[in-house]
Symmetry: C2
Subunit: 90 residues, 2 copies
């Protein structure tokens, strides 16, 4: 496998990684064991990656960060929405 193919597989896996978590959280309506910091830091981080990709006009960087941005923003919102009194944000 060439380094470029390896990079493409790596980018695909890290791009889609939050989808199963989002599906599970939407389905179970529970987010007790999820730290708000992971989706929050990932959402801010991938948003900055996206802006960086736009600034340096790098299409793969832009494409790789759109799905994680959407998923992690939604996960952070769901963590707040499904929270109850016994559910810590940290």
């Amino acid at each position: 496998m060439s380094p470029t193919s390896l990079g493409l597989v790596a980018g695909t896996l890290t791009s889609i990684a939050a989808i199963p978590q989002l599906v599970k959280t939407l389905r179970t309506r529970h987010a007790r064991d999820i730290s708000i910091w992971q989706p929050l830091l990932l959402a801010i981080g991938v948003a900055l990656w996206l802006i960086y990709g736009i600034l340096i006009q790098d299409l793969p960087l832009i494409l790789a960060n759109i799905i994680p941005l959407a998923c992690n923003v939604m996960l952070a919102i769901l963590k707040l929405r499904y929270r109850n009194d016994c559910d810590a944000l940290d």
Copy 2:
């Protein structure tokens, strides 16, 4: 802020994002609401990013993926370890 500084902040945030989740999971010993697929896909994905970084000799790419690799491998193991009968892996 220059594109390079923006990229460095983005890389730092996405690198450290899994640390609070790891701390929370270790502290609470619960991983019910976590999908095994997120840490698993991220662990494999960042491992491939790391190999890609080594192959193309890109130091920032190598450094940015070491912490997420360690955190996500540990999270996947903890998800299996703290699992009980009522706790789905998906």
